[in-house]
């Protein structure tokens, strides 16, 4: 590309990203989506752009630039690696964004589901993927991972099994059909589902990652198909992604919560099946949990889901120097009359908001 062409491209990109950039707490926002199973049987002609726009259609508009110019897209029928793969497609979108200075003052990235895995890969390899010049401009203040699939999901393993001719029973086949909307068959391209197998995901850029706080939002709600998929996912899950992944746990274990002293429904009590703080990947911190929010409600305009803030060791917090903001945790407790007056911890009125609004209320 000639010099003047490059200059024009940068000018256009600068114009596109400098007007009314979506911001969260004063930082420009990037969004990256999750896995779209339908791409496995219908190769999108636009690298998934239209699907991605539709994906975020009902997400809070204040977190999207006009024309969705801050929405990174990819086709799910590609794997992360390889020529023409997701990493190359996302890198080609990041290049003009970063050249425009969009992240010079640090961005906040919001991921959903597989977007967690893709962005972890991009950031861990940003120098080799983007070159040091652009990599230095890829400054990220924090990442909000909604239903993060960075630890993989057992559904993906079962799907890749069938594609490779594994003879699973009707229960597995029906679960995958209900989840994906089509029958998995021998020989179809697994796309990014290959990367979503726990064994593969947990060997993808989990170490040596940049010190960017990854704020995890995890849930255990029911999609319409949840009644068939829950049975094949380890521990509790949001119908697609298990808590071991959404919490950011280093073990692919059966978990009931992200916190040892807080149930996912907000009940303040000891939880045996939960990762300890040293059992989380580096810089991964559970932030919000919801018992009732299903996987694809995170990025949608769905309300009606109670949420809890994943504060741990509240007693220690209340008496520590960390309590610098005069948030008295006890003030935000509920003694539930419907549950023997046990102590619950809620984000007030979260059920009147969608997830985007809760993020905004929490960060602004």
């Amino acid at each position: 590309m000639k010099l003047y062409q490059k200059l024009i491209a940068v000018c256009l990109a600068t114009a596109a990203f400098s007007t009314q950039a979506a911001q969260l707490a004063g930082k420009n926002v990037l969004l990256i989506q999750g896995f779209l199973p339908q791409h496995l049987i219908a190769n999108p002609s636009d690298n998934g752009k239209a699907s991605s726009d539709n994906y975020w259609k009902s997400f809070d508009s204040s977190l999207k630039n006009s024309g969705n110019s801050n929405v990174l897209h990819y086709p799910s029928n590609k794997k992360i690696e390889g020529s023409g793969g997701i990493a190359s497609i996302v890198a080609s979108q990041l290049s003009p964004i970063l050249s425009s200075g969009y992240c010079d003052n640090s961005c906040v990235i919001i991921t959903h589901s597989t977007g967690d895995l893709v962005m972890r890969y991009m950031l861990a390899n940003k120098n080799s993927l983007l070159g040091s010049s652009l990599a230095n401009r890829f400054k990220v203040a924090a990442i909000i991972d909604m239903a993060g699939a960075g630890g993989g999901t057992e559904l993906a393993s079962l799907g890749v099994d069938i594609i490779n001719g594994v003879n699973h029973g009707t229960g597995v086949i029906e679960a995958l059909l209900d989840w994906a909307g089509f029958n998995f068959q021998l020989g179809i391209n697994p796309g990014v589902m290959y990367n979503l197998q726990p064994s593969v995901a947990r060997n993808t850029a989990t170490n040596n990652i940049p010190s960017i706080p990854r704020l995890r939002i995890a849930s255990t709600g029911d999609e319409i198909y949840g009644f068939v998929t829950h049975a094949f996912i380890k521990g509790r899950d949001d119908s697609v992604v298990p808590l071991h992944s959404a919490c950011g746990a280093i073990y692919a274990n059966s978990y009931d919560s992200c916190m040892k002293d807080l149930r996912i429904d907000g009940r303040v009590t000891s939880v045996g099946a939960a990762p300890s703080s040293s059992q989380l990947y580096n810089y991964h911190y559970p932030l919000i949990m919801s018992e009732s929010m299903p996987h694809n409600s995170m990025q949608a305009n769905h309300k009606g889901h109670d949420m809890t803030f994943a504060l741990t060791s509240a007693n220690r917090y209340n008496s520590s120097s960390a309590k610098t903001i005069n948030v008295d945790v006890e003030y935000h407790h509920v003694y539930a009359w419907w549950d023997w007056y046990n102590k619950y911890r809620y984000i007030t009125n979260a059920s009147n908001k969608n997830m985007g609004q809760v993020i905004l209320a929490s960060f602004e």
Binding site: T206, N207, I325, H332
Partner: protein
């Protein structure tokens, strides 16, 4: 959560009091100032310390009629009404400030869980309950000894079945496939008297096309004539680089520096990682990693252990390096991660007294900015 327990309203005050007292003693050391009179729409106050009592519960019922007024009053008193997440954000900021005391490339290992993070090339078992409707259903699983193998290596896995209710006769076979096509088959060998079977594929038995790097190890369980299957991914890759040797460790400023020499056939960014161990006790101390744009076939990358991380470990040496990895990082136009071979044996390293280092805290400017951002997020509105 079940809210339909309206019966609680008619049980009576004495029972409520009993329940409360039981609950009170169950709670883990409740802090002073426990709030009362709460529903999911209104909050009690803690700064006006009042022990929970029968009176407070009666008041709670009475206050429901005045809920709207109550919410408004409490909103004024609670600056984080509807934004309680800020309490967690400030706690995260506190934890993050501890985490960034050490470089990303020199992280202390304090316990076996933290070591688990840094053990490379681990496979995760795939498992499946044979009857998901039953508790304690028989379950099958398959796990390879690692995820990524080099061409020419033996591929090994363990297939297991659990929760069999009687003396069912079980046999196991296994196959390696790529895109559904079989490249090798084998029979499983039971390990002792257990229900675990070893499956292995000698390199000579593998017929893997040169460009294929993704295989699937599939175990087939025959239980009293009924067949069940489960698979797990395996990567089967070429060697593109190798670690030639590791030079002596030297103290340089705040770091213990370990030069690692390598040869590569694919120039570009390479990354090396390893764990530093106490040579006397074998305890893991520090995880190290480093990357560099390698521009010549023979080059070196320096692993650096920061004094702050070494002091957490509290050991001045001698050390050994283990769990090494060498990867060529993905880059245009192929966008693939490639792998290099590392020494099989542990590498002994000299240590130095901590007094030989410049003892200064590690500060990462960008991480500090992120910390300030987190702190600001949790800040008062």
């Amino acid at each position: 959560m079940n809210k339909k327990a309206s019966w609680s309203l008619v049980i009576g005050v004495p029972l409520l009091l009993t329940i409360f007292l039981l609950n009170f003693f169950e709670e883990e050391s409740s802090p002073p100032g426990i709030s009362s009179n709460l529903t999911d729409q209104s909050f009690g106050k803690s700064n006006e310390t009042s022990d929970l009592s029968l009176e407070s519960f009666v008041q709670a019922s009475a206050l429901e009629n005045d809920m709207q007024v109550e919410v408004m009053e409490k909103d004024e008193q609670a600056p984080f009404f509807e934004a309680e997440t800020k309490a967690r954000l400030i706690q995260i900021a506190d934890t993050f400030s501890e985490d960034i005391q050490y470089p990303e490339y020199s992280k202390p290992i304090r316990n076996k869980d933290e070591l688990q993070k840094y053990l490379p090339n681990q496979s995760v078992a795939s498992s499946l309950d044979l009857d998901v409707k039953k508790d304690n259903s028989p379950s099958i699983s398959i796990k390879s000894s690692k995820l990524q193998y080099f061409r020419g290596e033996e591929i090994i896995g363990e297939a297991a079945i659990s929760n069999l209710t009687n003396d069912d006769i079980v046999s196991v076979s296994a196959r390696l496939v790529t895109s559904g096509n079989i490249v090798a088959e084998t029979e499983g060998r039971r390990i002792g008297a257990s229900d675990t079977f070893l499956v292995s594929f000698e390199p000579d038995s593998l017929d893997v096309p040169p460009k294929v790097t993704e295989l699937r190890l599939i175990a087939n369980f025959n239980v009293e004539g009924r067949r069940y299957e489960i698979g797990t991914p395996v990567k089967y890759v070429n060697v593109v680089a190798s670690i030639d040797y590791v030079a002596d460790a030297q103290v340089n400023d705040t770091f213990l520096e370990v030069p690692v020499y390598l040869t590569t056939s694919q120039l570009g960014y390479h990354q090396i990682s390893a764990n530093l161990y106490n040579a006397e006790t074998g305890r893991a101390l520090v995880h190290l990693s480093a990357y560099k744009d390698v521009l010549v076939e023979k080059d070196f990358i320096v692993l650096k252990a920061h004094i702050a991380a070494l002091k957490v470990a509290g050991h001045e040496g001698p050390y050994f390096l283990d769990d090494l990895t060498l990867t060529r990082m993905p880059s245009p136009p192929r966008f693939i991660t490639e792998f290099g071979t590392v020494p099989d044996e542990k590498i002994t390293l000299n240590g130095y007294p901590f007094s030989d280092y410049r003892d200064e805290p590690y500060i990462d400017e960008q991480a500090q900015e992120r910390l300030e951002f987190l702190s600001k997020l949790g800040g008062e509105r």
